[in-house]
Symmetry: C2
Subunit: 405 residues, 2 copies
């Protein structure tokens, strides 16, 4: 490997920026003291613009899947009818959790690689008005598809106004626009190791007024993931149980970086990286797995052509220092995935595409040298030059100091 | 504050040694790759001598309280009768969790400050043979009492051989001897931020053959905390959900340090620090809260005398850089607690006692200068000179290299 740090291009955990790494190495503090309270307040408030909400946010020490469980058990009761819209592995997981806790789950299965159709949701809710909740995946990490949550939520809300809309945005939120309040979404889950540029270990959850009200009547058993106790403790600047303080430091720093960059610039960066990934992989001859109209901005999946086995392919790529992800579940051995979320830069995508060009050359596949990298760069540049940020980065202390009084 | 880093003397999170801090600042890796698998293997194997078991250990991303919930929901079914022996806040919590998930819980409440009596457990199980499980707290962090788990487990096992014995040792394991297999304990929970010298975020759980068998028949609902999926994934060098990788790095390093120091030396260090804390606080005029026969080796609780309000007292102590914990629950404002676990040294206890001497002097309480520190040191020294370690620290690479061939 002729480099000194791998290019970690899996769809989370993502590479940590230097200041986030440093935050992870800080000494412990009292989690019941004022320093922690200030930090928790910064995080919960700092996330609200990315959730698109003015409602309370909760921070739990668990993986994103723990957050999905929290979404289910805090809003539902055994026997509640649930429409689980699944477009991949994580949609299946959301449905499975609801079933384990006694919900009466109807699956609306969408072909993997496709997004859910708002019309299908409308029809499902029209034909059967008894659903207590609809489960939606925003970004399906297993297939590289991003669902049109605004449209899906609108379809659900207009058809069945009282049905709860619960959204898994573990790998979407923070990287792309999301407007929980405006879209009428009732609960959204995200995870620290995705767009937030921190290590794994924390799930953040926001809920609407309707969502928070549901936590008061839901009868599924819960203790560790009980959002009521998290909300009560947060009002005191605490968490009900000892939090993963090192990850809290990192999320605090990650959000600081995101606000300094500016929300729209963060989104534009993800858009440019996604465009580069798609163009580069296509130029390399790979067919993209996801419907182009709903391609994810945070992870791109590509088909492995016949005779192109994942294991030797991955070994070759890793030998040059790029870490990709294989397929999950029924897609194992059929696709590979290139993650582009969190601290990702266009340069890192070009680097990954360059290594894929190199592996192609080593394996005797004919690709004109530089064409894939050029295609990736052209696609990124098209986004970068089209993007007109509507939010500006906050001036740094140094900038402020440099302004003459 | 005339120092440069606080002396964090709460009973967890504990201060991180330098190399553990550095581990927390490392870059992320693929949690489905060989590097993570090797690390997970080292941790699970490295913990076994401290659990006193040859059985499988599971590592979950959650707080210790999540580990307690895992203990309950993985071994029990709704309606199961449970004897919950509580000697404080955390015993109450263990019982509460079992109740939330539908167990039929009988509390055996012990006066706070006292340990549980094996004879009382024997009688409870004799008078009513239908208990599926007994819940025990090893180290009750809220009162500074350490239960005699060996004797309590023996009493339970001899009276009711098939009853599961589930132990909360979140703040005990790793700091004092524990022999899960030899004592006939069925499940033990511990937490990364206690004896293991790492940040919070991971709970480790070991189970006996009987305990693992119970996970196959238990009917309480579970997904995120399901020990079966953790065991299956661990066999592949993985966790079922994305783990708190930064904390995993730290626990890996913490265990390395513990093995380098030697198990018995770790225990002797905790014993010396505990003796110093008790002697120092007593010499300062505080009455210790816990029954001396069962005083905790990891946290010491002392009564706040009449007229000695916690808030101004704590403010004064904090102003000199020592961070203590107040009382929890019904002990709020009545006691304070001094933690001595994890990376604690006798010097740090002397420092805390010195600050308490200083605060006493500032507040006009008459204590002969140096007497409390001297008493603490004498108590530590008595342990240090009596301790004859039966395990030696593993020779370091440097030591090995220094041995002539």
């Amino acid at each position: 490997m002729d480099r000194f740090e791998p290019n970690l291009r899996i769809p989370g955990p993502t590479a940590l920026p230097p200041s986030v790494r440093e935050a992870g190495g800080r000494q412990m503090i009292n989690h019941r003291g004022p320093e922690f309270a200030a930090m928790l307040g910064r995080i919960l408030d700092g996330m609200k613009p990315f959730f698109g909400t003015t409602q309370d946010v909760a921070m739990l020490t668990c993986a994103g899947s723990g957050g999905l469980e929290a979404a289910v058990v805090n809003t539902l009761s055994p026997g509640d009818r649930v429409l689980a819209v699944s477009i991949g592995s994580f949609g299946d997981r959301f449905a499975k959790i609801a079933g384990i806790y006694g919900a009466d789950v109807t699956k609306l299965d969408v072909e993997w690689g496709q997004a859910a159709d708002p019309q299908a949701v409308r029809e499902a809710l029209t034909s059967d008005p008894g659903y207590r909740a609809v489960l939606l995946t925003h970004n399906e990490t297993s297939t590289g598809v991003m669902n049109p949550i605004r449209d899906l939520a609108a379809a659900a809300r207009e058809t069945s106004p009282d049905t709860l809309i619960l959204v898994d945005s573990v790998s979407g939120l923070g990287a792309v626009p999301f407007e929980m309040d405006a879209w009428g979404v009732d609960l959204v889950v995200t995870g620290s190791q995705k767009a937030w540029m921190a290590a794994p270990g924390l799930a953040m959850i926001a809920a609407s007024e309707r969502g928070w009200a549901a936590t008061e009547t839901a009868k599924m058993p819960r203790f560790y993931l009980d959002l009521r106790s998290h909300r009560e403790s947060a009002a005191l600047g605490q968490t009900p149980f000892t939090p993963a303080i090192g990850v809290v430091y990192q999320v605090d720093e990650g959000i600081r970086l995101m606000h300094a960059e500016g929300k729209d610039n963060v989104f534009a960066r993800h858009e440019a990286c996604a465009a580069a990934a798609r163009a580069g992989l296509t130029a390399l001859g790979f067919a993209l797995f996801a419907d182009p109209a709903n391609a994810s901005k945070t992870v791109t999946a590509a088909n492995l052509p016949a005779g192109h086995d994942w294991k030797p392919f991955n070994t070759a790529i890793k030998s040059h220092g790029v870490v990709l992800a294989g397929g999950q579940g029924k897609l194992t051995g059929k696709i590979f995935r290139l993650g582009h979320l969190g601290s990702v830069t266009v340069g890192e995508i070009l680097d990954a595409i360059a290594v894929l060009e190199r592996v192609a050359a080593e394996q005797g596949r004919r690709i004109e040298p530089g064409t894939a990298v050029a295609a990736a760069q052209a696609a990124a540049l098209a986004v970068q030059t089209a993007a007109v940020p509507t939010t500006s980065p906050a001036p740094s202390e140094a900038d402020r100091a440099a302004v003459p009084a």
